[in-house]
Structures are given as C-alpha cells and as structure tokens.
C-alpha cells in the first residue's frame, strides 16, 4: 500500500466519517444490548476479597455465575442450582438437592461436587472469604448421589438466605483447581445466563448468551456493559443512543428524559437511608433521641429533595422484608418533639447540641437531606453541626464505635432478613452497631439461634417496635432506583438493585 500525505489525509477523513456514522443510533433495532453501568468491576471471583461483599457489583456476578439459590426480583428465593434444601429434624445437618442437566460455560457438567467444594472452600479461613464466619458454621461437606450434606457446627437460621446473598456463588471445582486463582480471574466461567467474552478493566465487559442456560437462553445474544461512573456521562450515553440502558442518575434527569425519547422505570430497592444514633453524650437522653425522630418530616423530604422517589420507613425493614410491620410508626410531630426537649430542659433558645456526620454525593442528595433535617431540628430546639466524611471513614469509625452522636448511612439488605438489617445494625457486640444498650442486646441475643421461623420473625418485629419506641436509630427512607432505557428494551428491575441483563427483553 503506497501512502503519501494526500492519500493518508483522505483515508483518515474517510475513516473518521466511518467511525462517526458507525455510532449506534437509538432508532435502530437492538442487536447488541449496551448498558452503561455506574460502577466498575475490579475482580471476577465473587467469593473472596472486597468485591465479593460490594452490593453494587453483584449484578455482574449474577450474570455470569449462579448462586446456590435463585433470588427473584421481589427478593424471594426460588429453586436455582439447588432445587430443594433444608435442615434435618434435629438441626444438626443441612441437605441440598442439586439440579441436574446443568453445564458450565466450558461445556463440562455441573455436579454436586461443585456445590460441596464451593461451600467447603469459603468455609476455610485461609481462602479469605469475608463471609467465612457464616460459611464456617457448616462443616464436613459431602456428596451423596445428587445431594450435598453438611454438618451444622453452629445453627444459623439464615444460612440458606446467605446462599442467595453476598458470596453465595457456586464456582467450578475442576476448572478452578486446574487454572488457579489467577487463571480464573483471567478467564472466569460459571453456569450463569451469560459467558464472559471480553473484559477490559475500568472499561467494559462483553458477554455472550449461554445457550445452555438452565433457566432458558437470554433474549439478547450479546451484551456490553460499559463502566461509566460519572452520572452525567451515563445520561449522555443513553441520550445519544450509545447505550440502551443505564441506572442511578439524578431524579431530575430521570424525570426530564423518561417519557420522551427514552422510557424509564423507578422501583424501590433494598437500600435504605438511616441515621445511626450512638449512645454517647446527649444521645443517652431518650427525650433528645425521640425528639430528633419526631421532628423529621420524612415524606416532605422525599417529595421535595428526591422528587418523590423514596418510601418513608420507620423501622430498618422495607415492605419487601420478612419482618416488615406496617403498624410500627414514628409520626412527624414537631409539637411532641418540642415537648420532649422541654422535659429535658432544651428549647429553641437553649438548644441541645450535637454533631451529625454525613457523606456528600455517596447517595442521592445525602448531604441535602441532612441539611433539611438539621433545619427541621433547629425549629424544635436541636442544633446539629454537620460534618462531611468519606464513606471509608464511616466504616472505620463505625467499626471502632467512634461515630458522632448522629451519623447518616445507607444500609443495604438485599436478602431481606431482619438479622442483616436490624440485627447487625443494632446488636451492640456487632462491629456494625454503635448502640450498645444492654436491654436491646438482651432482646436480640436469643433471636440469633431461634429455630422456629415464625417465632423468630415475630421476635424481630418486637425488637423493631422497641427500637422505634425508644428511638435507638432513625430510619428515613427506602431508596428508589431510577433506570432509563431505550424503548426497544423491556427492563425488569430487581429489588436488590442489581441491573440484570438476562431480565431484559426486546420490546
């Protein structure tokens, strides 16, 4: 090929024009689904390391791997790789029946050995599973025909719920042992609806449909998930037609674009906004705590700041959770708040003072919500000083029980069990709790090992009532996840917040 300056320029111009005209158009039929995702995927092993417990990236994992038990969009469990499961009558053993006819992405058969090996692997401390404390409650995993049996070292009523929660994924025993951890990172395989075709760190993952998927072949043969952390860029991606689906944009943008050239769906997810109250300083005074709770007009905050996209909550349970009790209410009552504060000697002229910590930009309008709350508190005689911190600092302070008297946080609980919401958030000995009251510890303690499920759930409801009545924490709202998509795609939202391509269909 002879190239001179003129022909190079001509070729370049033509190539740029080709590249430009090659940009995807919204109006075109969708052959390859492109999703602009809000987070990046650091690592492919869904069972170890920090990524394994990052709720925001579980959607990637669930596209490639299967969990032991399938979780439906409403958070309810359903048969997955395990078709049946349960405890022995004496609760000394667990048993699991493994689905037959499933294959790994490399074509090799999936067996009960894979399930037993996956469970045993994460139960070992040296594997580095952050959830080892749960998986370690089972031991001596063994295969009997199509069943996996394990001994119960310590009874945990939520063990099967963890099988569709963080790190609850089945990995391929033979393949993993052959290629090792590094080989698995480079070429991960699962039994999930999509196979990894190409992965560029910090850029994109390209998936191919698994034609042999036990749940049926996904609608889109090829899916590209671009990692686009910036919200403005994500909106531009779908507005320009470069991507067909995106999520987590400002609600104002969502309202502007849905119903226009794009369709939108906004559904509640399992993330909640809450204010931790630490039992230090003025927060040991129940009047102050209850006044702080009654002075917050949650619905108005949701309507004004979140454009109505949020669900007011008064316990740490959302309506989808097992222990949700609609009868537990904490009313917005500024007069009562004023009265409670007066009983402790505080007023607008002599306000009670404390610090409230919050993130800024970590969750939608987090800082603005706290600003509004501080404004409402000021009207009844509470003067709160806002301190902005990074989420990493929150984790460290919470782990060391050094949070300020009040601290905003968002709590995710996609498994919907009360132990992973009220339990870990409010149980004093847990490193995630900053409320150390003995009375509450006494109420929660017996529930950890309660074998009677109905009694266990009722027990947690009673705990939630106690927490609400004594204002030991201030639940604010359940978040709503906005999703914008091209009209050619039908998106089924998942209450866990995971955006799953295999739940998307052509319109």
């Amino acid at each position: 090929m002879n190239l001179n300056r003129r022909s190079l320029l001509q070729l370049s111009t033509a190539a740029i024009a080709l590249g430009v005209t090659g940009l995807p158009a919204r109006a075109q039929a969708i052959d390859e689904l492109v999703i602009a995702y809000n987070v990046t995927l650091p690592s492919w092993d869904p069972t170890v390391g920090p990524s394994a417990v990052n709720p925001t990236i579980q959607g990637f994992y669930q596209s490639v791997f299967d969990q032991y038990i399938l979780q439906q969009p409403d958070l309810k469990p359903a048969p997955g790789l395990l078709t049946e499961w349960g405890w022995s009558d004496d609760k000394k053993q667990v048993w699991m029946t493994v689905r037959e006819g499933v294959t790994w992405h490399d074509g090799s058969p999936f067996t009960a050995e894979d399930v037993a090996w996956s469970l045993a692997r994460v139960a070992k401390p040296e594997t580095g599973s952050p959830i080892q404390f749960v998986w370690g409650t089972l031991a001596n995993h063994r295969v009997e025909g199509n069943k996996v049996i394990a001994d119960v070292v310590q009874f945990d009523p939520t063990i099967f719920k963890w099988m569709y929660f963080l790190t609850g994924y089945v990995l391929p025993k033979a393949y993993y042992e052959r290629v090792g951890a590094e080989g698995f990172e480079a070429a991960p395989i699962g039994t999930g609806p999509y196979m990894v075709e190409k992965f560029e760190r910090n850029a994109f993952v390209r998936l191919k449909a698994n034609a042999n998927y036990w749940g049926g072949k996904p609608d889109f043969d090829t899916v590209t998930i671009k990692f686009v952390p910036d919200a403005a860029a994500r909106v531009a991606e779908v507005e320009s037609g470069n991507s067909h689906v995106t999520l987590e944009m400002p609600y104002e943008e969502y309202d502007r674009l849905k119903g226009g050239p794009l369709a939108g769906i906004a559904a509640p997810i399992s993330d909640i906004g809450m204010i931790f109250l630490n039992d230090i300083d003025v927060m040991t005074d129940p009047n102050v705590r209850m006044a702080a709770a009654h002075a917050i007009d949650k619905q108005t905050i949701i309507d004004r700041l979140l454009s109505g996209y949020g669900v007011k909550i008064d316990t740490l349970q959302t309506p989808e959770y097992d222990a949700y009790d609609a009868s537990i209410q904490v009313a917005y009552d500024p007069a009562k708040a004023t009265e409670l504060l007066a009983a402790s000697g505080y007023s607008v002229d002599n306000p009670v003072k404390f610090k409230i910590q919050t993130t800024k930009g970590f969750k939608p309008k987090d800082y603005e919500v706290i600003q509004a709350i501080v404004g409402l508190w000021r009207k009844v005689g509470i003067e709160a000083e806002i301190e902005v911190y990074e989420i990493a600092k929150h984790y460290e302070l919470r782990g060391a029980d050094q949070l300020a008297p009040a601290a905003f946080y968002n709590w995710g609980n996609s498994v919907g069990d009360p132990t992973t919401s009220t339990g870990f958030a409010m149980f004093g000995p847990s490193p995630h709790s900053v409320w150390d009251g003995e009375d509450l510890i006494g109420k929660i303690g017996p529930l950890w090992g309660e074998a009677d499920e109905a009694k266990r759930i009722e027990g947690w409801k009673a705990v939630d009532r106690f927490v609400a009545e004594n204002a030991l924490v201030i639940p604010l709202m359940q978040y709503v996840q906005p999703i914008l998509h091209a009209p050619g795609v039908v998106v089924t939202p998942h209450a866990s917040g995971a955006l799953l391509p295999h739940l998307m269909k052509r319109a």
Partner: protein, 336 residues
C-alpha cells in the same frame, strides 16, 4: 562532560525524591481514616474476622514493618498485589500507563496546535479585532476548568451532535490485533485506520477537554514572547531586508520566542497527566487516572502506592527531559 555530570546529579536527587515520596505516601495512606479491611467487613463480622482479614493482607504488622516488606519487594520489581483486583500492581499500572500517555500526548499536541495558531495569528494581526477576539477566547479557555470543558463537549459532540464517543477507549465489539497497549500508535504502525479512527473518536473529546486550558496558557505565553521578540534588532533588520511579516514571525521571531514556551510545555505536561485523573473518570477512559480514583475509593493501598510512584517517576522524568532539552537548545546553557 559537565552536562553528563549534571544529569547524574539530577538522577541521584530524583532517586532521593522518589524514596521520600514513597515513605510519605506509604505512611499517609495508612494513617488517614478508612482501611481496606473496614471497607470489606460484612454485617456480622467479629473481631476475630477483622484480625483474620488484617493478617491476610499484611495489615496486622506495624507501618515500619509493612514498609520494609513493600520496599524489599519493590527492589525486586514486585509492587505487591492489588487488594481489589487481585492482580500484581505493576502489571495493572503498566497496563494502563500507555492509555494515559497517549491521551496526554494527544492533548499536548492539540494544545500546542491551538495555542500556537492563536499566538501566531494574534501576533500577525496585532492591533486588530481578531487579536482582541483571540485574547477574549484565551481568557475564557483559561478560566473554565478542564472537567467543565469535558461536560460541554459531551453535551455538544456527544448528545446534540453525536460525532464522538462519550465513554471508553475503543468500541468493545472491535477485535484488536494489538500486542502493546499503545493502541493509537500501533493502529498507525499497522495501517489499521479503521481502528485508528475509532480510537480517535473515543479519545478526541477527553484530549480536547484537557487541551483547552493548556492551549490558552501556551497561546498567551507564546504571544507575549513573540511580541517582545518582534521589537529586537535582528527582527527589525530582517524587516529592513524586505522579508514579509509572516516570514519574519515564523522564521526569525518564533525560534527564539518558543524557548520559554518549551519550558512551560514541559512543566504543564506533568500537570496535564495529573489532570487526566478527573477527565478519564468523566469519559470512563481506561487509563491510570480512572484506576487511581477506584483505588482511592476502595482503599486499595498497594495500588495507590504503585500509581503514585509511577506518576512521580513520570513527573520527575519529564522535568529532567525538559531541562536537558532546554540545555540542548539554549546555546548559553549548552556552553556554560
């Protein structure tokens, strides 16, 4: 000989600087609140779990012990393993460096072209409205930060006139035959202009966003230098010889006026690489800057260290190169 001596002294001071920086970064990221174990602790974890995970990542040792282990590894070319990506840090960082370098170099070229043209045009048409217009445009370009230019460009050329790609470095569906990570360079070498155009269509907006403020700086400085040079005797002599104004500017004034601009470009190039952090994030460009933000968010200590050290090596390396170039181009320094 003196130049060689000077280079050796600079290399020695650079090594000391890098060591000092490594110590500071190592200590600071471990002292500030937010450790990676706290980040990954799930609900229900006990103190024993904290201890187990801390030991797994070597965070149970004293900072001094951790530094000795890390420094020992670095001397053998092992920068540790990323906590989040679970890959060797050096491999990750070197894998992303070419993308950032290509972006920075493209931005620099655009900045030099725009700034240079603005300066030359302003000088050629000095005293006219065009010069005034160029000054105003320079002021605007300088006062708006690069990430805002990025948003403006996304709106203009990504949404309203979708000419360029908004995110990424290359279209995911393309098969890349490259053996290096220098996609743009290799696409030219392989005469794959289909890939080249796709890469440029991805890279142009972030590069332009980075380039606009720098082009204003270059334009202002070069124009000022040209203005001063245009009053020197040898330029006047050139005019009296009958050369046209354009010839005088390009052939007589520019070579001398370009020298201070070259120094500035060198210094600004390091800032340009620093600026890629925000721009790469905005355009989801898979470079070092984008990776740096994720590393900080996730408190991936080994990766943060690796990226900072590499940035420092680039900064000091570019400064050294610029000094040498300056010495080579400036006869007074060359013969001093």
């Amino acid at each position: 000989m003196r130049l060689l001596q000077s280079v050796l002294v600079r290399l020695a001071t650079t090594a000391v600087t890098l060591f000092g920086l490594a110590v500071i970064v190592f200590v600071v990221i471990r002292v500030v609140p937010g450790n990676p174990v706290a980040m990954m602790l799930p609900p229900g974890a006990t103190e024993a779990d904290v201890a187990r995970l801390s030991a797994l990542y070597g965070l149970d040792k004293s900072i001094f012990q951790q530094f000795l282990i890390w420094a020992g590894g670095v001397l053998q070319g092992d920068f540790g393993t990323s906590i989040t990506a679970r890959q060797p840090v050096l491999e990750l960082v070197l894998g992303r460096l070419p993308a950032t370098l290509e972006l920075s170099i493209m931005a620099l070229i655009i900045a030099i072209v725009i700034g240079g043209l603005a300066a030359l045009t302003g000088t050629r048409l000095r005293g006219t409205r065009v010069e005034g217009g160029i000054d105003v445009a320079n002021g605007v370009a300088l006062s708006v930060p690069d990430f805002l230019w990025g948003l403006v460009l996304i709106l203009l050329f990504g949404v309203l006139m979708p000419v360029f790609h908004i995110s990424g470095r290359v279209t995911p569906s393309l098969e890349l035959p490259f053996v290096t990570e220098f996609y743009l360079f290799e696409s030219v070498v392989r005469l794959r202009f289909d890939l080249w155009s796709d890469i440029v269509a991805h890279m142009f907006m972030p590069a332009l966003a980075l380039a606009i403020p720098l082009s204003a700086i270059i334009g202002q400085l070069l124009k000022q230098s040209l203005k001063e040079t245009m009053h020197l005797d040898y330029v006047t002599l050139s005019r009296t010889k009958g050369y046209g104004e354009t010839h005088v500017i390009l052939r007589e004034a520019l070579p001398n006026a370009a020298l201070p601009t070259l120094t500035l470009v060198g210094v600004q190039f390091t800032f340009l690489i620093g600026g890629t952090v925000i721009i790469e994030r905005l355009f989801s460009y898979e470079g070092l800057g984008n990776m740096a933000i994720d590393a900080v968010i996730n408190r991936d200590l080994p990766l943060i260290q690796g990226i900072v050290i590499l940035f420092a090596v680039i900064f000091t390396g570019v400064n050294l190169f610029v000094d040498m170039m300056y010495a080579a181009l400036n006869p007074r320094l060359r013969h001093a």
